[in-house]
Structures are given as structure tokens and as C-alpha cells.
Subunit: 344 residues, 2 copies
DNA sequence: TTGTAGGCGTTATCAC
DNA sequence: GTGATAACGCCTACAA
């Protein structure tokens, strides 16, 4: 199990130099003669010297790595965001460490502690569905850990945030259903504690109100685990279907909820969109091959990821403490497909 | 940006003890008096002391973390495997660091170097589609880094491996199509360099042969990027459709290829399964809501992940060098859905 | 221009 | 039972 990459010390003894000379030579210091530099660099290259990042982290307290916490990587939205983050990180020579909370508060706390103790230079996070308070993050933030929130953000920490225009996305989705002639539009969404929930809920209600309809709380179902537990979604759906005025359309608020709802409706042999239409927030790359193809509110996930990482780098590399923070709101796109087209 | 968690030294000065006494007390050494231990532990708890993992890594050369390289996390198979790995890792108090090669050899090399230089205790990897040689991994392995391969494995490194029974999965998928009466069965798969490709190809050919059919190379299409580039799949599909004896069924060899092929066939307005039937390797959780629902060879991904991590821990924690290696082959399951049922 | 020494936080060894 | 010291690999004042 021993694993001995070449170190500065090895180079020093081999070349009869001191460790510090080698260190400086490798970093191209002008204190060092060209000849020595050439020798050292040649030797280092030849023996494939790589500085030990662990030692560098310990010394510098910085690691050139960024921690990410998302609820679930098995989700096109988050994996696309991560790809956006990664593309910028690569350019700037940062590494990313991906972890999943799986919608569990406990795991979110554990992951945040672990990442910070591994000296990540910053933390990018979308809160878990279970998270009610963000004290764990406040503590890290107060200690100086740069944090960028995205998607599921909190007002309790003043830092950069990147979100989609959830209000508008929800408004457009609901309006589209209204235009198609649907009137009893239900909404299945995540716990109310999540920012995306209230933003999307407001968009939904505003669209109804603007169409002269009264939002009806019986048509609104919150899933405490954000769709991670299928039974929960089934329960919500069953309750909707048992209403006297059964909904003629459903607007689902997240990737997981959208696919689960579609799947359940099909299991229940409910025709979409004939009996119930469906529109969902989703970045699934398969939405067009679903049965029926799914009308989707799509977030610019890749671009979100890039902007998230841009902001993170600004936080990390800023010479002076950053005091003014941005909340970037990116546009969504409504992709209309079969699941929401009213049959004649 | 400064970030000062409490250290052993802080405890030592506060309690007028030496650093080493504190260190021993925290680890419950019996050299230390109960009183001192109690004091130290109380103080540590009170001030929320956490050992610095970076310093521990530097000192011990071990990090209690495992690196993972997969081509793409945006894929139900890999994310399920990762969840399996993670579940065991959590129990054993290991952390996992997930990276993506995105089917690029260069990124696979870069990620493997980065992970090893961050002192991961082991590396779990499924090779990228571009990878032709594994010298980068051989080097790390020779230096003592424990490696476990899964899914896309190599014969060139003697270590533990976990794969699905790709031959059998492919054999069953092809046999199923044959039983349904399809005769011109095409196969779209990954580059030949990948172990899964030849295993699945052999299963496919064996099923044809056992049915008295001669495998026809014109019906076999290799996609060099494993489906990461849609144009490549489109090209393969177009060529198949232009054959004089156009296939009446297609068997796709991976998650990505399966969904892309389904999507392309629909774009081309080719009726499935009436004009062309489709069976694919996929762990997509949405296969049942595809249009049509997709007959799938499903791998026991979660269980694979657990076994992978079990084997990894065995490698890491074994007192003596491990010299006998396992290749675990797990069973696949054929889930028959609409896309492969021959219409009357 | 090069070298020495000390420190980052932890731990192992050895001395008191 | 406790403490001093060195070491992990790197970096950086400061000394030579």
C-alpha cells in the first residue's frame, strides 16, 4: 500500500541543493540562477514530479477544490448544472468534489462539515428538501467559507445566488394550461421550506388569478421529500383524483415529481392529456420520448452552472472581502409537447 | 477568508498540556490518566474540535476517501452504482469523491492523477469510451493504489472487478427478439475497446447463432463515443436504415445509446415496434414511461455498487497484500415492455 | 544566489 | 502519566 511519489526533498538531495532552492526554482523565482532552475525543472519533469496537493492544502489552507452538495446527481437538472460548474472549474484549474444529500438534512450537514474540513475553497449548494434551518451553513460562512447557493436558496445568508426565474416559469406553464382550456389545474410541489416551492407556487397562483380564477388549496399538494419517496407522490396524486372536482391538469414543480407523476398516471391508466394534462419543471433529456412527450419548463442548467462557478471564483479570488452580492435570475423556457395539448 | 477551526494546539495551551498529551487523550490512549482524558474530551466537545483531515492525510498518507471515475453521472446506471458505493462507504466512514471522464481519455487520465495526488485511499473506475490503453492506471496501481474496476474493465490490471453478466444479458435480449419473430436484428454498441462491448456483442452473436442465424457485420454499429455525441448515433442508425435488408429490430448496448436511438427513431417517424423493435441495456428509471415503454436489460446497479465498495475496503484494509482477485459477475434482468412486442 | 529554520495540524517515538 | 521532538511535504522569512 505504499505509494511514494517523488518530493521536493528527493530532488534536493539528488541535485545537492536545499529544499527551499528547489521549491523556488520550481516556482520560477528570480532569486534562483537560470542554470539551477533549468536543472531542477529538467529533473522534476524527468521524474514526473507533482507537488503534493495535500501538503499544499495544509500549508496554504486552500485546496483549489470546490465542494458541491446537491440532493441527487441522478437528475438531469443537477447533472447539467454540475457540468456547467465543471467546465469553468477546469479552465480555472479548480477541482470539484460532488456529494449528495439525497434530500436528507442530516446528510447535508455531514457533507458540508466534511467538505469544509477537507479545506475546500468554497461550497456550492442547493438545499435539501428536509432542510429547515441553515445554521450549519451560517457557521461555515461566518468562519469565512465562500458559499454560492443555487436553485434552492436561502435568505438567511448574504452571498451570491443563482436561480432560474421560477415565478415566470411557473406562470408560463400555468398560463399555457389555461390557454389550452384547462381550468382545474392542480400543483404538486416540494416542501414549502424550499425557495423554489414558494416561487413556483406564486407563479402558479398569479397565472390563475390573472385568468380570473381563485387558487384552491385543495389542488395544491406538497411532497415533503420532494419526490424522493414515490409513495408520497402517489398519496398526493390519489388525493387529487378523489376530489369531487377532479383536476383536469397537473403542474408538477420538479424533475423527480414530473417523471413520477407521469409514471403513476400511466399506472393508474389515466389518459394524458385527455383525462388529465401534465406540465412539469424538468430538464430531462428524455422528455420528448416520454409517453406522452412531456411539456416542460426547462432551466438553463448548463449556463447556471457556469455562472455559479464564475461567482464562486470571484468570491474566492477577490483580494478584498466581497460585500455586495448578486442574485442572478436566469430565464426558463417552456417546451410545449403533447402532454398539455387539449384534445378536441 | 480565514477560517480557524480549533486545533490540538489550542486545546493544549488552554489546558496547559502538551500537544502530544492532548492527541493521546483524544484517541483514548491508556497512557493518559482518566482525569486528563475527561478534561480534554470535555473541552474538545465544548469547542467543537474536529481533527483536520488534511493534516491527518499528510501524516498518515491515507485520507479515508475513495475516488470514483465514471464517464457520466447523468445516467441512471452510474448514479445507481454510485449510490450503492456510497451506502457502504458511509457505514465504513469513507467519503467518496465523484468525477466524470465524459468519455474522454484525457480527462480520465487527469482525474486519476488528481485523485491519487489527493491521497484517495482507493480508486473505483469504469473506463471511458476513448480509453485505449490503461498505462496511467497501471502506474498508479504499481505504486500501490488500490483499484477496483466495474462495468468497463480491463484485463491488464490484476485486481478486483465487478461486472454484470453482459453476455447473458445480451443473449437474453437477442433471444427475446428472436422469439418475437424478428430476424434482422441490428446491434448498436460502444467502441470495441470496451470490455462491455465485446461481452455484449458475443451474447448477441451467440443468440443469433443458436437460432441458426448468421451474424451479419453490416448490422453491427460501433459508436466511438458511446453515444455521447448524438450525431454519431444518428449516423449509425441512418446507415442501418439504408441497408437493403433493413433491420426489423435493434438491440442497443448502453443507457445512452438506448435513449438516443429511441429518440431518433421517433424523430424519423419510424413506428416502434411495428417497423422496428427496440431492446436496450438501460437502468433508466423512466423506461416504463417512454413511448413506447422500453424493453430493457437492467443491471443490479445498487448491488454492484455495494459489492464494489466491499471489495475496495477489503483491498484497503487488508493487513497483507492481496494476491487473489475476484471478478464478480452479477445477473441482469430482462424487463419486457412494449418496444419489443411484435404486433400481429 | 542559495541555504536555514520554522511552521501548517497531526501523530509516532522516545525520554522524562 | 506526561511531554518533547521529529516527521509527513511544502512554503517562506530571513540569514548567509
Amino acid at each position: 500500500m505504499n505509494f511514494h511519489p517523488i518530493t521536493i526533498k528527493d530532488i534536493a538531495t539528488a541535485l545537492h541543493l536545499s529544499v527551499s532552492t528547489v521549491s523556488k526554482a520550481l516556482r520560477g523565482s528570480h532569486e534562483i540562477s537560470q542554470e539551477t532552475k533549468d536543472n531542477v525543472i529538467a529533473y522534476a519533469r524527468e521524474h514526473n514530479y507533482k507537488p503534493n496537493p495535500i501538503a499544499q492544502s495544509l500549508k496554504r489552507g486552500r485546496s483549489k477544490s470546490i465542494g458541491i452538495i446537491v440532493c441527487n446527481i441522478d437528475n438531469n437538472f443537477f447533472s447539467q448544472v454540475i457540468n456547467g460548474i465543471e467546465s469553468v472549474a477546469r479552465q480555472k484549474d479548480y477541482n470539484i468534489i460532488i456529494t449528495q444529500s439525497r434530500e436528507s438534512y442530516e446528510r447535508e450537514v455531514a457533507n458540508s462539515l466534511h467538505l469544509s474540513s477537507r479545506s475546500v475553497d468554497g461550497l456550492i449548494i442547493s438545499l435539501s428538501a428536509e432542510t429547515r434551518d441553515v445554521d450549519h451553513l451560517i457557521r461555515l460562512h461566518q468562519k469565512g467559507l465562500p458559499i454560492v447557493f443555487f436553485d434552492r436558496v436561502t435568505d438567511e445568508i448574504a452571498t451570491h445566488k443563482v436561480i432560474a426565474d421560477n415565478f415566470k416559469g411557473a406562470y408560463e406553464a400555468t398560463s399555457h394550461l389555461l390557454e389550452q382550456g384547462f381550468r382545474r389545474i392542480a400543483h404538486i410541489t416540494s416542501p414549502f421550506s424550499l425557495s423554489i416551492t414558494s416561487e413556483r407556487l406564486q407563479g402558479y397562483k398569479a397565472a390563475l388569478a390573472d385568468a380570473g380564477l381563485q387558487p384552491d388549496d385543495r389542488y395544491i399538494k406538497l411532497c415533503e421529500h420532494g419526490g424522493m419517496i414515490q409513495e408520497e407522490t402517489r398519496q398526493a396524486l390519489t388525493e387529487l383524483l378523489q376530489l369531487k372536482d377532479r383536476p383536469d391538469a397537473i403542474f408538477t414543480a420538479s424533475d423527480r415529481l414530473s417523471t413520477t407523476t407521469l409514471s403513476l398516471l400511466r399506472q393508474m391508466q389515466i389518459a394524458i392529456p385527455r383525462e388529465i394534462a401534465l406540465v412539469g419543471f424538468t430538464n430531462s433529456i428524455s422528455a420528448d420520448i416520454f409517453n406522452p412527450s412531456l411539456t416542460a419548463v426547462v432551466q438553463p442548467a448548463l449556463e447556471m452552472g457556469q455562472q455559479i462557478m464564475d461567482l464562486m471564483i470571484e468570491l474566492i479570488e477577490s483580494k478584498h472581502p466581497v460585500t455586495s452580492f448578486q442574485k442572478r435570475v436566469l430565464d426558463t423556457e417552456l417546451k410545449i409537447r403533447d402532454s398539455s395539448i387539449r384534445p378536441h
